[in-house]
């Protein structure tokens, strides 16, 4: 069960409040918040002047400028709106692997990101997925919603096969406002990780891929004659685990990680790879900041 107590202490929360989720693009929000929007509006930060036109709110006339220039100029302020943040959490059965499990780790990271988003009045949506989009936790705003987030994450359980394309198709069809899409997954998708990410990309979301890696995936401790069983599909394969085979597997796994990284770099998607053995505080406070996902 993911709870605030088990996840975060007070000092950590304080640090999180100073963090922002960075979007490479500015998106149109629904409510006033702390993010600049493309539109000029009723924010606090001065943006520009323009000539007064009939019908304008004369309260925004800059009278000091009129004294100097004898022209009616209107003061323009940057509009500050909220940001839609979509957290996609891979809840397939393969995420139950590792110690802690990849899913638990994903939930911890997601909770932290949620807190950051909520603290800055962003609209945070949690969307677990397997081969379909699971029950979402719809847009939440404000720190007070964090407990709802915890409860939601605490109820997440790994199960089912992975098919990100199917899951994201449903999401994209539902005409969501564009925002930041954070995909937290091990990306062991039999149908390929690219298809799902491409769907989000084509929907003009700002995508950030968080690759969760467990040691059992990267360096399996296997030895001898074994029958490997796929936890998602149940398919089996006989192997004789020898040092050379394991070495070859590690190369294949490294190549797989590099593929994801290359894909993200090619399409300017954010990418962070983290191991479940790494304390997630470090991931939040250091890795994400180094990768400019958080500021």
């Amino acid at each position: 069960m993911v709870t605030e107590d088990t996840l975060f202490d007070g000092a950590f929360l304080k640090k999180l409040e100073y963090l922002h989720i960075v979007s490479k693009r500015a998106f149109a929000g629904q409510f006033r918040a702390e993010r600049r929007a493309r539109t000029r509006g009723s924010g606090l930060e001065f943006a520009d002047h323009r000539a007064y036109a009939p019908g304008d709110d004369f309260r925004r006339v800059d009278w000091r400028a009129y004294q100097r220039l004898e022209k009616l100029l209107l003061r323009l302020f940057e509009e500050e709106q909220d940001l839609p943040i979509y957290l996609f959490i891979d809840a397939s059965r393969s995420m139950a692997d590792g110690r802690p499990t990849k899913l638990a780790y994903a939930c911890q990271v997601a909770a932290a990101l949620c807190y950051i988003g909520l603290a800055h009045l962003d609209r945070v949506t949690l969307a677990p997925y397997t081969d379909h989009l699971g029950r979402e936790l719809a847009s939440q705003r404000g720190k007070g919603q964090i407990f709802k987030v915890f409860r939601f994450l605490g109820q997440l359980a790994a199960g089912g096969t992975t098919n990100a394309k199917e899951a994201f198709e449903k999401f994209c069809r539902s005409k969501r406002p564009r925002g930041i899409a954070v995909v937290i997954s091990d990306f062991l998708d039999p149908h390929g990780f690219e298809a799902g990410l491409n769907l989000l990309r084509f929907s003009h979301h700002d995508i950030f891929a968080l690759h969760i890696v467990s040691r059992t995936d990267a360096e399996p401790a296997l030895r001898g004659e074994l029958q490997l069983v796929d936890t998602e599909t149940g398919s089996m394969h006989n192997i004789t685990a020898t040092p050379s085979l394991l070495s070859a597997y590690q190369k294949v796994y490294a190549e797989f990680c590099n593929e994801i990284e290359r894909f993200c770099a090619r399409y300017q998607l954010g990418y962070v790879r983290t191991q479940t053995e790494m304390p997630f505080e470090d991931v939040i406070l250091q890795v994400f900041r180094q990768n400019r996902f958080l500021t």
Partner: protein, 594 residues
């Protein structure tokens, strides 16, 4: 290809069954432990990459199965003992006869012996032969002979049982047929070889000096004195200085060094001082002697024992004088009219007289009348027949030991019918007329069915020996038997045999006698209850000439080649199976076949 152990149908069934078992076992091999992993996505990518890299690697998966199947089929075929003429050639058969005469024990220049060379030569012959070639090995002592076999272990075991012995060599009675015969010999023994026999000679010139003859005899005209007659022969190609040594119960009686010319003989008659008893031993020593067993000979003088003898006669000066001259005999002459049967003597000598009741002591009877205790002789009327000589006699009987009956003239004898059995035996006869009959039932008796007056027995040199033998046999102390080295037959049933020093020897009982092996010159004692027999065993004369070659042969014989393989095919199949097992082990551990 033919199969020696199974029919082709059985071979086919065996191979089919083997294949089925191997395939079943291969596909029923132990299930691997299951490990659940997050995804097989990357494993499949890896294994597909590894397995489909080349055609060879795809075939490699079957290599383990192929190896297992090949190994099992090779073993199955080996069990069937296949024979391929194209590979192993036509099987051949040969009889190998090893000469086990005593000269084969002669030492050679390389410190081995002719026998060692013969064994090595036979081993080479067998090793060079094809696997299906069959041999029969036999020796010339008649002790060891195998069947015709290709089993090398049996041949080796037979060869191990062979050894040179003092038995007179004869060609073994084996079925030679049209087979090749190879005789491995030093060529000394005179063997009646088949015409197709080839001789593989292991002869090598050797030095040897031997005791040719050794005998302790009573000195002429002095019954209590003894002489030793010793002959020493030099079979060497050069003259030899020979040290002679004569020992009487361990005491040196005589020692002398003589020079014996090449292939010459030196004879000595040595007077023994005092009254020697026990083992008399002669030894010859010389440099470079190749054969030790003929360097020694023994004889035995029985310790004298006084014996009381009652001579029951109406008057026989010859017997009286002969018995009176014997120092050991305490003679009592009794007239038949005064015979009571309770005289205090150890034995009786009846001259033309026999009491109605058998005396309690052993008895020697000369021309006895028919009596019931003389084995039913009273059932037939006595007959008088005219005789001219003894036609048959048993030289092995103790009372006829060294007693020659050749040309013995008998003018008159009484024909008595004896019921012979295991204890009552006719030991000398003239035609159908028993001349000397013995009974070994206690008390023993000996019936001589003629008088000394009716024959020339009493004037022959063998008569005192006969009397000595009879007295000794009655006393249960037979004179020492003089036998050749080798198998000795002693007329004592279920006897135990020891050397004179008391070392037990293995003995084989036969009906009424016991066999044992006398392997070295010496005195052997056979005991059965109170009865004892002393056996003096020496090397027979004429067996020690290590250079007297009568057979010549080649020094090397080669088994005909033309075979690819020197052993049976099944051995190679098994060897190949073992090699494949090693290959399978190697490929398994190198993860080539997994």
């Amino acid at each position: 290809m033919t199969f020696l152990a199974l029919t082709p149908l059985q071979v086919a069934l065996l191979c089919g069954l083997t294949t089925a078992v191997v395939l079943t076992l291969f596909f029923l091999k132990l299930r691997h432990p299951r490990i659940v992993v997050g995804s097989l996505l990357l494993w499949e990518r890896l294994l597909q990459d590894k397995q489909h890299r080349s055609l060879l690697e795809r075939l490699r998966r079957l290599l383990s199965l192929l190896l297992a199947l090949t190994i099992a089929l090779l073993i199955a075929l080996a069990l069937a003992r296949p024979e391929a003429v194209a590979i192993t050639g036509e099987p051949r058969e040969a009889v190998i006869v090893l000469d086990t005469s005593i000269t084969m024990a002669a030492r050679t220049a390389d410190s081995q012996s002719r026998w060692d060379h013969a064994r090595a030569a036979v081993a080479r012959l067998i090793d060079d032969a094809g696997g299906a070639d069959r041999f029969l090995v036999a020796d010339t002592s008649g002790r060891v002979a195998t069947a015709m076999t290709a089993d090398r272990a049996r041949l080796d075991a037979a060869l191990d049982r062979m050894m040179p012995s003092a038995t007179r060599p004869v060609f073994p009675q084996v079925d030679v047929g049209g087979r090749e015969v190879i005789v491995v010999s030093d060529g000394i023994a005179t063997l009646d070889l088949p015409r197709n026999a080839r001789v593989l000679s292991v002869f090598e010139l050797a030095d040897n000096v031997a005791v040719a003859d050794f005998k302790v005899v009573v000195r002429a005209g002095e019954p209590s004195g003894y002489d030793v007659r010793l002959s020493v022969v030099n079979h060497s190609p050069e003259a030899k200085n020979v040290y002679l040594l004569l020992e009487d119960d361990g005491d040196v009686d005589f020692a002398e060094t003589v020079t014996v010319g090449a292939r010459d003989t030196v004879a000595r008659t040595i007077a023994l001082s005092g009254r020697p008893t026990g083992v008399i031993r002669a030894r010859v020593t010389t440099d470079g002697d190749a054969l030790a067993i003929d360097d020694e000979a023994v004889d035995y003088l029985r310790p004298p024992r006084d014996v009381g003898v009652a001579l029951v006669t109406t008057g026989n000066n010859f017997l009286e004088t002969l018995l009176a001259l014997d120092e050991r005999v305490d003679l009592h002459v009794v007239h038949p009219d005064f015979y009571t049967g309770d005289e205090s003597v150890e034995l009786y000598v009846f001259d033309e007289f026999a009491p109605l009741v058998q005396p309690a002591q052993p008895a020697l009877l000369f021309r006895p009348p028919g009596r019931s205790w003389l084995a039913g002789s009273d059932t037939v009327s006595p007959l008088r027949v005219s005789m001219t000589g003894v036609t048959s006699w048993d030289e092995t009987h103790p009372i006829l030991e060294f007693v020659s009956m050749v040309d013995l003239q008998i003018t008159d004898a009484r024909h008595l019918e004896f019921l012979t059995n295991a204890t009552t035996r006719v030991v000398a006869s003239a035609g159908q007329t028993p001349l000397i009959v013995t009974s070994s039932d206690v008390p023993k008796w000996v019936a001589v069915n003629f008088t000394l007056d009716d024959s020339d027995f009493s004037v022959r040199p063998s008569f005192p020996m006969f009397m000595q033998n009879v007295l000794a046999w009655f006393a249960g102390e037979a004179l020492p038997l003089r036998r050749s080295l080798g198998t000795v037959d002693v007329l004592l049933a279920d006897a135990t045999v020891t050397t004179f020093d008391g070392v037990d020897l293995p003995a084989r009982p036969r009906v009424g006698s016991t066999l044992f092996e006398a392997s070295a010159p010496g005195l052997y004692v056979a005991s059965a209850g109170a009865a004892r027999a002393y056996v003096v065993a020496n090397l027979p004369t004429g067996l020690s000439d290590v250079n007297g070659v009568t057979l010549t042969g080649r020094e090397n014989l080669e088994w005909p080649t033309g075979r690819w393989l020197s052993s049976e095919l099944w051995m190679y199949l098994l060897g190949l199976a073992l090699a494949l097992v090693a290959l399978e082990w190697w490929t398994y551990h190198r993860r080539i076949t997994v």
